[in-house]
Amino acid sequence: MEAITYTGDTASVEALVRDTFDGIDALRSLTLDVHRRAANEGRAPTTSDMASIRPTVLEYLSSRHLCAGTGVIAAPGALADQARWLEWWRRPAAAGDLFPLAVDLDPDNIGSYEYPLAPWFDVPYRTGRRVVVGPYVDYAGTDEYILTFSAPITSDEGFFGVAAADIRATDFERVMLPILNTEGPATLLINSTGRVLASNTPAAIVGSIIRLDDLPRRQLPHGPDWVDYVGLPWFLVRN
């Protein structure tokens, strides 16, 4: 395997992941506060308790232009007054105001949003770990091709749900292109399943899967916390 050298600032990948999870952590601790206050009154939180997180969700989304949407999603039964619930706001792909995600939460409907089965919900629930998922088609939800960064919200009472943020695959690819050196040899940024996140060649475009067996690849430099994330590390591959 030849040694790979890359131009560009691969530290920007680490910075992006860290910054995204900083915002998620703010939502997480806010939700835990709501939860704790309700627990002190000897009850489960309600949707009106949770309404207090909205300003923070909007602030997070307004200040991070790469972020397509963010919010908190409750586990079924976690809230006293509604079986399934989410506070999720989105940024339109074109210019425009932030808007809430409207989804069908009735599990009997074919187009319903079965979020408890989604990896960004299920993995934190099962493992207690953070997860980076995608890119994937978020059908019945945002209907977009996105990456989702998600963290479990767990208190003494157990698993409450997740705090998460989305980045559109197309936006993610755009900000990653500089590190791939578009004039250099074919180079790909791939996730841990071999899915291409960004590439400088039409031969392996975003969303395709490549076999890793005999390709020289290099794990991106990153901080010590990546080992806590399911779905990381990401790799750079010379095709």
């Binding site: 990896p119 088609v137 059908y139 399943t193």
Partner: protein, 260 residues
């Protein structure tokens, strides 16, 4: 039994008359060699589609066997299966015979109306659209599906295999086709797949009048997953094409029976 005590009971009073044309189709000779399962399926489909109504008396075993062109032994076994499924009950004595037991709920009745009113051309249009979307999704999924997504597709095939109600079967089947498009990494195909399943799913899985045979459908889904796993896009496309064409042609057959 109350029935034996009462002398005024006559089967005609409980019988809802279905039109003769539909019955003509239901009781037409079977081409496929007259296996017990085929006979039972023909009759249960007719019950599901409402071509034979709840409470209606079936023709005598001799008449029915002759009409379907099967032996009375085969017919009796088929009726036995239907009895075990609670779709037919046999009463003895005067006024006795085999009677259909199929209470109809409002949603089933609505679906039958929808299928009757959706013309052949429209069903063909939906089928063409489904063919374009699902077959392409399958081909792309073969090169783009992750191991996780293949596992989800396998899980949905299993779910279809074990689903207890028509509603569960419809959901597992619909989800399979939607996940196929999601595994293809295409938001556009996925959106269209959701719309198409919303439009088609209920019609394909009308309780008892199911245009797709569950076990056959499960086998087809598994074959598609195997092709995707083998990264054989052409085969995945071909299998889904056959799968869609079969379902649409059966749906058109049912529609024609209903308008007959």
């Amino acid at each position: 039994m109350a029935r034996e005590l009462g002398s005024t009971w006559a089967p005609e009073e409980e019988t809802q008359v279905t039109d003769v044309g539909a019955r003509h189709v239901v009781f037409a000779p079977l081409q496929d060699g007259g296996r017990v399962e085929v006979v039972a399926r023909r009759i249960s489909e007719a019950i599901g589609l409402g071509l034979i109504a709840d409470g209606e008396q079936l023709p005598s075993e001799l008449e029915l066997a002759a009409a379907l062109n099967v032996s009375t032994v085969t017919l009796r076994e088929a009726l036995m299966q239907l009895r075990q499924r609670g779709l037919v009950e046999t009463r003895r004595g005067r006024g006795g015979g085999s009677f259909v037991r199929a209470p109809v709920d409002a949603s089933v009745s609505r679906l039958r109306t929808t299928l009757r009113e959706t013309g052949v051309h429209e069903l063909r249009e939906i089928g063409d659209h489904l063919l374009a979307v699902s077959a392409t999704a399958a081909q792309l999924a073969a090169s783009r599906a992750s191991a996780d997504q293949i596992a989800i597709l396998t899980g949905l095939a299993d779910q279809l295999a074990t689903a207890k109600t028509a509603g569960e079967r419809r959901r597992a089947d619909g989800r399979f086709h939607i996940e196929l498009a999601a595994a293809a990494q295409s938001t556009r195909l996925t959106r269209q797949s959701i719309d198409l399943q919303g439009e088609m799913g209920e019609l394909l899985w009308i309780p008892l009048g199911e245009a797709v045979e569950r076990d056959e459908r499960v086998a087809q889904h598994r074959a598609v997953v195997a092709a995707i796993e083998a990264r054989d896009g052409r085969r995945a496309r071909l299998l889904v094409e056959e799968h869609v064409e079969l379902a649409i042609s059966r749906l058109i057959e049912f529609h024609l029976q209903l308008v007959h």
